[in-house]
Amino acid sequence: MSSPSHVEHEHHSSTGLDNRKLAVWAFLGSETMFFGCFILVMLINKHNTLGGQGQEILDLALTSVTTFVLLTSSLSMVLSLAAFRNGSIVWGRIWLGLVILMGIVFLGGQVYEFSEFVHHGLTPSTNLFGASFFTLVGFHGAHVAIGVLWLTTVFVYSYRGRFKSGSDMWGIEFVGLYWHFVDLVWVAIFTLIYLV
């Protein structure tokens, strides 16, 4: 009798591709539209400050550090997947743990940045710049937080016999795709909002 996991491996589709992977890529495509809208609104409202705080409040030094952290977490994520595929479960968990840690550090940086902005008089209700900024970066932060939770779940699953050599790695692969996408969105936000 086939085990449920073995039945999963034999799942056939008309495209010959894994339907779960198709769903994840379709989801990421929809997320592109989602963030595209918020980025557009942010670009339009970049100078709508009503004389209040605007782009000058952005801390490029802090954001550069958090950007490097997120970028490095993407490297750690892909190394984790490679390690699990290679049968190196210990290293897979180590890299995965580092991704979680760096995600938390990034979120900490975001929380600090938001609190500093509020302290200096920029809130979502201050002006359109504030509303747009907090909405865009806030939603991105929420995605990072969800990613951290998802990664933690996968990390725990790795201790329950999942992701052994030769088994289906889709659990790690899909959270990896999500995490890289979150990094990708930050690349766009960092460039268009903080640098330009």
């Binding site: 495209t15 591709l17 992977k21 198709l22 890529w25 379709a26 990421l28 495509g29 929809s30 592109t32 539209m33 963030f35 595209g36 809208c37 980025i39 557009l40 670009l43 339009i44 490029l60 550069s64 950007t67 490097f68 970028l71 490095t72 993407s74 490297l75 994520m77 892909v78 190394l79 490679a82 595929r85 290679n86 990896g176 795709l177 890289h180 996408f181 990094d183 990708l184 690349v187 766009a188 960092f190 460039t191 268009l192 640098l195 330009v196």
Partner: protein, 103 residues
């Protein structure tokens, strides 16, 4: 060393190379608007264009190598790039409409 092991060792090196490239590009992106001499030499349109190109290259690196789109089915590429092109086009068109109309 088996062929399988060699392939994965090669995979690790590839990701590290991509990471170094992404880091260098990010440093360049930070330096360009931060240094007055570079900013003045490029002028604002040049700064914006260079930052957009650099971030696009970074995006390609992440999607192609970290997300393995380069090695995967073209259908996945289409599923992602189609909405990306739509979103980017809408952002660009509406941005120029709003900025040119003075809204």
């Amino acid at each position: 060393m088996t062929a399988h092991g060699a392939e994965h060792r090669h995979g690790y090196a590839k990701y590290l190379v991509v990471a170094v490239v992404l880091t260098v590009i990010t440093i360049i992106e930070i330096v360009i608007p931060s240094r007055p001499e570079i900013r003045d030499a490029l002028t604002r349109p040049g700064v914006v264009a260079s930052l957009l190109v650099l971030s696009f290259v970074k995006g390609i690196g992440v999607v192609a190598y970290y997300m393995h789109l380069r090695e995967d089915s073209r259908l996945f590429t289409a599923l992602f790039m189609f909405p990306f092109i739509i979103a980017s086009s809408i952002v660009l068109i509406l941005f120029f409409i709003f900025t040119l109309s003075g809204a």
